[in-house]
C-alpha cells in the first residue's frame, strides 16, 4: 500500500526541501521504493540537495502537459537505487500545474512506488494548494522561532480547511543549549501551541550544511545528530515506536551559573 506525503511549512527557509531529501533517502535506505516530487516550480532545489542537478532531462511540467510519460522524467539516484526524483521546471511558475493534474499524476505514481513525497513551495497560494491536493498525510516542518510557528499554525488551519486530517509535525533546527537556557522554545512548547502529532525534533547541525554542499543528505552520516533525528523520523513513518532523542544536557552548576548571570 503506497502513501503520499506532502512536506509543507508556510514559511520559507525552515527546511522543507532538506527534510524531503532526507526522508526520501532514509526510506530508500530501508529498501522502499520512493519518488520525490518537486512542486516548487521556478525555485527548484531538491535536485541540488540530492546531487542530481546535472541529470535532469524532462520535468513535472512536461509530464502534466502530456509531452512525456512520467517515467521518462524520473531521475534515478545512483547510490540509492530505489530513490527517484521527479524534478520540476526552473523556468515556469507555480501556475503551470493545477491540483487536478498533480492528483492524477499521484494516482499513477501510487501504482509504482511505496512512498510519494511531495516537496511543497512556501506560501499558501496556488503552489501550496496544488502540492497538498493528493496527499494522504501532511508533514508540517517548523522551527523554534515565533514567525515559523505562527506560519505553521496558519498552514495547519489551511490543511484542515482542505480536509487533510492526518497532519504531523517536525520541529527543525533546534539548538538544545538555547532551549536548556530557556532562550528557545522547546518541542514541547511548540507542541502545546500547535496541538499536532509531533514526529520528530531535529537539532541544528553543521553537518546539514556541509552535506548539502556535497549533495548528500545528512541522514547517510552516522555521526550526524540531525541525521540520527531523521533516521528516527523515518522509523516512525514506517510505524516503529521510537522515543524522541534527548540532547546532551548542561549540568546543574552550569545551569545555576546561567541563572545567576555568571
Amino acid at each position: 500500500m503506497s502513501e503520499v506525503f506532502v512536506i509543507t511549512s508556510g514559511k520559507g527557509g525552515v527546511g522543507k526541501t532538506t527534510t524531503t531529501a532526507n526522508l526520501g533517502v532514509g526510506l530508500a535506505m530501508r529498501g522502499k521504493k520512493v519518488v520525490l516530487v518537486d512542486t516548487d516550480t521556478g525555485l527548484r532545489n531538491l535536485d541540488l540537495l540530492l546531487g542530481l542537478e546535472n541529470r535532469i532531462m524532462y520535468t513535472l511540467i512536461d509530464v502534466v502537459e502530456g509531452r512525456v510519460p512520467y517515467k521518462k522524467a524520473l531521475v534515478r539516484h545512483k547510490k540509492h537505487e530505489t530513490l527517484y526524483l521527479l524534478p520540476t521546471s526552473q523556468v515556469k511558475d507555480k501556475s503551470a500545474v493545477n491540483p487536478e493534474q498533480l492528483a492524477k499524476l499521484c494516482e499513477e505514481l501510487r501504482k509504482d512506488f511505496d512512498y510519494v513525497l511531495i516537496d511543497c513551495p512556501a506560501g499558501i497560494e496556488q503552489g501550496f494548494k496544488t502540492a497538498i491536493a493528493a496527499a494522504d498525510v501532511a508533514i508540517v516542518v517548523t522551527m523554534p522561532e515565533i514567525s515559523a510557528v505562527r506560519d505553521a499554525d496558519k498552514i495547519i488551519g489551511e490543511l484542515a480547511r482542505a480536509e487533510k486530517t492526518d497532519i504531523r509535525l517536525i520541529v527543525n533546527r533546534i539548538r538544545p543549549q538555547m532551549v536548556e537556557k530557556g532562550d528557545m522554545m522547546s518541542m514541547e512548547d511548540i507542541d502545546d501551541i500547535l496541538s499536532v502529532k509531533c514526529i520528530g525534533q531535529v537539532p541544528d547541525d553543521e553537518l546539514v550544511v556541509t552535506s548539502t554542499n556535497r549533495g548528500e543528505p545528512c541522514i547517510t552520516i552516522d555521526k550526524s545528530l540531525a541525521g540520527q533525528a531523521y533516521r528516527n523520523i523515518v522509523g516512525r513513518l514506517c510505524g516503529e515506536d521510537i522515543p524522541f532523542m534527548t540532547f546532551p544536557k548542561e549540568g546543574f552548576f552550569a545551569r545555576l551559573k546561567h541563572a545567576l548571570g555568571m
Binding site: 522561532e145 515565533i146 505562527r150 499554525d153 528557545m184 522554545m185 545567576l260
Partner: protein, 97 residues
C-alpha cells in the same frame, strides 16, 4: 524556585517563554479571525455601555483576547476615573453630628 531566584537577581523572563506567550496570544487572534476593526467596534460599544454608569478613562482602556488555560477569555482593563453619583441616595451630604 528557579523563577523566584531569577526574580531575586532581577533577571528577565527567559526569551523562549516570552515567545511562547506572545505566540499564544497572536494565534488566538489569527485563529478567531478577529479583525482590528471588529475589536475597535467592540471597544466603542463597551465604552458606550459603561459610560452610562461611570466615567471611564477611554485612553487607558484596554481590551484583548487572552489565553485562559483551555479557553479564550476577553480581558478588559477599564480604569474608572469617576463614579457617577448624582443619582445615588447615600452620596447626599451626611448630616453633621
Amino acid at each position: 524556585m528557579l523563577e523566584a531566584l531569577l526574580k531575586l537577581f532581577g533577571k528577565k523572563e527567559p526569551s523562549g517563554k516570552v515567545a511562547h506567550n506572545r505566540l499564544k496570544v497572536v494565534l488566538i487572534h489569527d485563529r478567531a479571525n478577529v479583525s482590528p476593526e471588529m475589536m475597535e467596534n467592540l471597544r466603542n460599544d463597551i465604552i458606550e455601555v459603561i459610560s452610562k454608569y461611570m466615567d471611564i478613562n477611554k485612553k487607558e482602556m484596554k481590551i484583548s483576547l487572552a489565553d485562559d488555560d483551555d479557553s479564550v477569555a476577553l480581558v478588559a482593563n477599564i480604569p474608572v476615573s469617576n463614579m457617577r453619583h448624582e443619582k445615588r441616595k447615600d452620596d447626599e451630604p451626611a448630616s453633621k453630628n
